[in-house]
Symmetry: none
Subunit: 220 residues, 4 copies
Amino acid sequence: MEAGDGTVAERVRADSVRNRRLLLRAATEAFAECGVDVPMSEIAQRAGVAKGTVFRHFPTKDDLLVAIMMQLLDRLLGTADRLMRAADAGHALRDFMAHGIGLLAADRAFCEVIGRPSLQHAEVRDAIDRLCERAEDLTARAREQGAVRADITGTDVVLLLGGIHQTAQPLLDREPRAWQRFLEIAFDGLRARNSAVLPYPPPARLRVADPAGSPHAVHT
Amino acid sequence: MEAGDGTVAERVRADSVRNRRLLLRAATEAFAECGVDVPMSEIAQRAGVAKGTVFRHFPTKDDLLVAIMMQLLDRLLGTADRLMRAADAGHALRDFMAHGIGLLAADRAFCEVIGRPSLQHAEVRDAIDRLCERAEDLTARAREQGAVRADITGTDVVLLLGGIHQTAQPLLDREPRAWQRFLEIAFDGLRARNSAVLPYPPPARLRVADPAGSPHAVHT
Amino acid sequence: MEAGDGTVAERVRADSVRNRRLLLRAATEAFAECGVDVPMSEIAQRAGVAKGTVFRHFPTKDDLLVAIMMQLLDRLLGTADRLMRAADAGHALRDFMAHGIGLLAADRAFCEVIGRPSLQHAEVRDAIDRLCERAEDLTARAREQGAVRADITGTDVVLLLGGIHQTAQPLLDREPRAWQRFLEIAFDGLRARNSAVLPYPPPARLRVADPAGSPHAVHT
Amino acid sequence: MEAGDGTVAERVRADSVRNRRLLLRAATEAFAECGVDVPMSEIAQRAGVAKGTVFRHFPTKDDLLVAIMMQLLDRLLGTADRLMRAADAGHALRDFMAHGIGLLAADRAFCEVIGRPSLQHAEVRDAIDRLCERAEDLTARAREQGAVRADITGTDVVLLLGGIHQTAQPLLDREPRAWQRFLEIAFDGLRARNSAVLPYPPPARLRVADPAGSPHAVHT
DNA sequence: AATGAATGAGAATTCATTCAT
DNA sequence: TATGAATGAATTCTCATTCAT
């Protein structure tokens, strides 16, 4: 009974919870539209609060950015879990991709965060790892059902989310669903009938900062 | 009198030309490595000149960025022209994409510039338009030879350059050629045997900032 | 009904008194350890109350600082009063100084407050004036008993408290009693056998902020 | 010939050198008057330059503070060196102290910097170490000539500089030479005729940050 | 009365751009 | 023309103080 039990102690927080929500929404929008370089003051303004309030909720800009990314990733993880129960694994994988790209389609910051090692926080990296694992679960089923090539991995799928989104991005302002075209193309490329071996082995992991050697030799 | 060949004025101009070249090279590197937020002072330092000299050659940072982008686009245009003479049009189209992605693979700034309407200068947009036209020429031949789907356009191909690059980007630090994998997947998706109609019509143009209506109705 | 002794209003007041005490203790510690720049939030936390409560008791940070200083000064005044009853006036004066420096030795803020005119509140200045008077009473007895030079005043003694403390301060972290060494040196300097006239007349008052002229001409 | 040889290369710097001097002067004043918390903008304004110019010359506020401290310490070191050649070592030691206190008398920041471990930069600490060594050289001669107690060290002398300054500080606004009075008292306390053993052993070093144990046992 | 969320003035610092030399 | 010093707007973040609950 989230709204019915307001004791005094909880009611004090009601404003704060509302502001936090406003902030996350405003920040999601602002990052999506303007990228990670959007000033905190802009986010505060969009949320209708003072600058100080942003910092009360998120002590640093990075914390806010991480929170936004985690929101996105958590939703994706939830979707992946849900789709594991679908009968048609190929369909489920496609739906997962569609959902993921749909989320990204509104988000300029994601590309920047994913691409920049300097912005990679442990929490976000871990969530991406988990996402790759879930995506691998979905992909494994699709492989077993013969819906996709044998050498496609969950990490491929996650990478393609960002890539397909990026492909359509220049069009999104005017045609917000244009990414569907490129998802279709990419998914056709993943299908099992494309039997020729891919010219480069599957990626192992997305961890960027690890100074260790690459996980497998370069394939000529 | 370095080479006995000129007046003082000419020598001065020669220095200037040399500095411009140094600057373009340094800026290309710096933008590629660090993205568009790299400070002008960093570029000046890499070029071995003073900050003022950068601004003499490029009155604003945007001008420099445009010059870099034009360089990149010019090279791509040249490649497209050259490949028009290849016999196998499907092969040629693939080579064009490989060359384009290879250029982008070393360039952090390109994704950022393409994605940000605020950074889109008329000159760059025009060059991208021209690139789409050349890509369309290559694509038309490939379509005619049955190498790719009937409803694939040059603009699709140009958009895919950025998208495929973005797909592989998180891997590029450790595996600089990982994009080849995703080019193969995408190109398989473009092939003619994928005959099902795409769920979204081909994009007409890439002009981002124009507030005019979209060129065709959204496809449900 | 904690002790069965009061109405709700009285209990509330009791809490308030308790909080005030907690706050003074916490603030004394915090100012002593960290200096005047310690944030109010730190003080609230140390006291185990919310920030708002600090401001209910002390409307501004300055008010709190003044309260702390008054505490310190009151203790010193009490010590001075007590020592007026000692038989050996020289000994008493020394004990007064030792007690004062001991208090300061644990207090980073005092030096900062004393040194900064901007922080000098009327109340604190008045207390310092009173302290100088009490110190003068002690000093007068010591002068009469031949324990210190004839031209030493109470104000000299009060100033020396801060000075001796400051002398030892860099050592206090590792050797909390190091000030005893410098008190001994200074007190030896005050003794009557040092009969040569001091090269500068005794200070009249400590009032710092008054823009009026100096109380006596500069001695060349 | 500092001013006579202005080549082009050096003339370019002429402004800069002048601004640096203005800045050091303004900062010395500002720190002396207001303490280390004076805003950089205040220093810029006093120097008549823009904020950015301060940061061009001193990349961080700490750098500026260190520069100011080093200026002061260098002057003191120079004085110590000069006074080593004086015949009367007691007189020389006193002159050293007078000179040091005179420098400090105009400087509020010194006390704060000396007292706050967090502000102790290696460079400053090293200079203070060197100053203690020079002071020890002067003190050793004075000890040998019987001018001061046998157990007074150079570190004592350096500590007394700050202490005597602090003693007089509240008076300095109105009576800039009041410190002479307290120097006389302190120096009388140092004299050899005060033969009673001091109640605390001499300090070994001023290094504050070292987490090692204290250099000698506490003397009761 | 207590709480702790919100406020907003201000601090250090960065960097594109201008301009004197 | 090249230089690099100066500028000042913008940005992140802090903290005393106010105020709704």
